[in-house]
Amino acid sequence: MDAILALFTDHISMIYFIVLSVFVGVEVIGHVPTVLHTPLMSGANAIHGVVIVGAIYVMLNVDANDYISLSLGSLAVLLGTLNVVGGFVVTDRMLEMFKKK
């Protein structure tokens, strides 16, 4: 229990950040018309690809001889990239269609 409490006190600025992000998220979605919900969903999908940053970070800490971690890490980076690139590109493609009249 102490450990959990410590987790909160150590990361108090992060907690504020979380609360703020939640508000931003709610605010952002609240103003998007139904018409754009599909691009929105795929855009949000691309954004959570930010998890790739974690994968890269893990990779940078891996020993050159740790083959299991190296392959798992590469896989993680690959999947993360697919998520990010695919998500942004397809969102762009959809929004492009809306643009032309």
């Binding site: 450990a3 959990i4 992060m14 950040f17 979380i18 992000s21 998220g25 709610v26 952002v28 979605i29 609240g30 103003h31 018309p33 139904t34 018409v35 754009l36 919900h37 599909t38 691009p39 929105l40 969903m41 855009g43 949000a44 999908n45 691309a46 954004i47 959570h48 690809g49 930010v50 998890v51 790739i52 940053v53 974690g54 994968a55 970070y57 893990v58 990779m59 940078l60 800490n61 190296l70 798992l72 590469s74 993680a76 690959l78 999947l79 990239t81 697919l82 990010v84 690139v85 695919g86 998500g87 942004f88 590109v89 762009d92 959809m94 929004l95 492009e96 269609m97 809306f98 643009k99």
Partner: protein, 450 residues
């Protein structure tokens, strides 16, 4: 910025640039720290690591780019669920790899295990969602008492996770068992839910992956991951609720109730009586040609038949002859909210012709012909009149108030919800059977001769 179709594209690009900066920053500003968080000077990352990172990024970029460019717009829900699953898998793999470095740090372990569990659920759930949307797995599979089993399983997985955090076993066995258990839960969670509700599930899983990313941000004290993850988590949750509202069903109903839960779907079939009449192409062409106002109700069937281009041609042809044409868009038309707008935008239909449900409903009274193409549940009057119907209470397009209702369908099969549609038996209704693309092409050809 995302609030408007014009600026949204720029918003998306800014997001993409931000992501590139975040990735490059992570790679080039990396500082190796020892277990106490002190930076180790003069540490060089092995070359092989860089090679692998950039190789994976390069390969991922190429595959991701090509997939995104090539995919058909009708396959959008599948694509989103696939990419979502990959993000989830990425989060789960991070959890698997980071565990051993953090034994002894309870706080970090909580974030790791939570990320692992949620990422895994999101991954396997997305795979199932993908298969369901794809049609590979088209029947909801329900184990007896699946609600109880699922709930117990979920509690079990989280209890197991708590145990791993508490006991911090050194061997990898427990960790992998937890990984597998979470994967199994993801499958159990998604498998009883019908295809029609998949968009809601994807949106929910989307927010799960966001949450998993946020736990990663917590772990590394990385604000980009944290903000991104939480943003998606809250946005996804809200979007899920918006969708549920459009279908007038609480989220719990989507997850636990699923359509028909047993034999209730047959309920509305019993009272169907009366006959169905069909209409020939030539008669329909005459009817439409001499109408003042035509409203087209596009549904997923239109998208499946790839008929969005021919319907635009029909619309232009009628407009040339002085017929007012509008499209009535139900919030859940297609397979995702806003999906139909994307599909019609793809075939150059100008979006001021797309009218949302609340605005078009009062106009049906003055409409001569409603042409329903491949839509079913969203025009089913049972949603308003039959309390025993599984879709009772769902807001619908009130097409039955128009003078003539033409329904284009391939066959008399029930819609996604698996229920009969009383609209087909309405005296004002006529069926126009055939594959949407083929039937509409014939109709356009017929109109041109007139």
């Amino acid at each position: 910025m995302m609030g408007n179709a014009k600026t949204a594209r720029k918003g998306n690009l800014i997001g993409a640039v931000g992501m590139v900066i975040a990735i490059l920053g992570t790679v080039f500003l990396f500082e190796k720290k020892d277990t106490n968080g002190v930076v180790i000077e003069n540490f060089t990352v092995p070359t092989i690591v860089y090679v692998l990172i950039f190789g994976a990024i390069g390969l991922g970029t190429i595959i991701g780019w090509l997939t995104a460019k090539k995919v058909q717009m009708t396959k959008m829900p599948e694509l989103v669920s696939m990419f979502n699953g990959m993000g989830g898998a990425c989060a789960a793999l991070i959890g698997l790899m980071e565990y051993h470095h953090n034994i002894g740090h309870t706080g970090a372990l909580i974030a790791i295990i939570a990320g692992l569990i949620i990422g895994s659920i999101s991954f396997s759930g997305s795979v199932i969602a993908y298969l369901k949307l794809n049609g590979t797995m088209n029947k909801p599979v329900r184990l007896p008492a699946y609600n109880i089993i699922n709930t117990l399983f979920m509690i079990g997985v989280f209890a197991f996770g708590a145990f791993v955090v508490y006991a911090q076993p050194h061997g990898g066995g427990f960790l992998y068992a937890l990984f597998v258990a979470a994967l199994v839960y993801g499958i159990l969670f998604t498998i009883p839910i019908g295809g029609a509700d998949m968009p809601v599930v994807i949106s929910l899983l989307n927010s799960f992956t966001g949450l998993a990313a946020a736990f990663g941000g917590f772990l590394y004290d990385n604000k980009v991951m944290l903000t991104g993850g939480i943003l998606v988590g809250s946005a996804g949750t809200l979007l899920t609720l918006v969708m549920c509202k459009a279908m007038n069903r609480p989220l719990s109903n989507v997850i636990f109730g699923a359509f028909g839960g047993g034999g209730t779907s047959a309920g509305s079939g019993a009272e169907v009586n009366g006959s169905i009449k069909d209409i020939a192409v030539s008669d329909l062409a005459v009817l439409m040609n001499y109408s003042k106002k035509v409203v087209i109700v596009p549904g997923y069937g239109l998208a499946v038949a790839q008929a969005q281009h021919i319907i635009h041609e029909l619309e232009q042809l009628l407009e040339e002859r002085g017929v007012e044409v509008k499209y009535a868009i139900h919030p859940v038309a297609g397979r995702m909210p806003g999906h139909m707008n994307v599909l019609l935008a793809e075939s150059n239909v100008s979006y001021d012709k797309l009218v949302e449900m609340e605005d078009i409903n009062p106009e049906f009274e003055q409409t001569d012909v409603v042409l329903v193409v491949g839509a079913n549940d969203v025009v089913n009057p049972a949603a308003k009149s039959d309390p025993s119907s599984p879709i009772y209470g769902m807001p619908i397009l009130e097409v039955d108030r128009a003078k003539h209702i033409i329904i284009n369908k391939r066959s008399m099969n029930a819609g996604y919800a698996g229920i009969d549609n009383l609209l087909f038996y309405d005296p004002k209704s006529s069926m126009f059977f055939g594959d949407a693309k083929k039937a509409l092409t014939e109709l356009v050809a017929e109109l041109k001769t007139m």
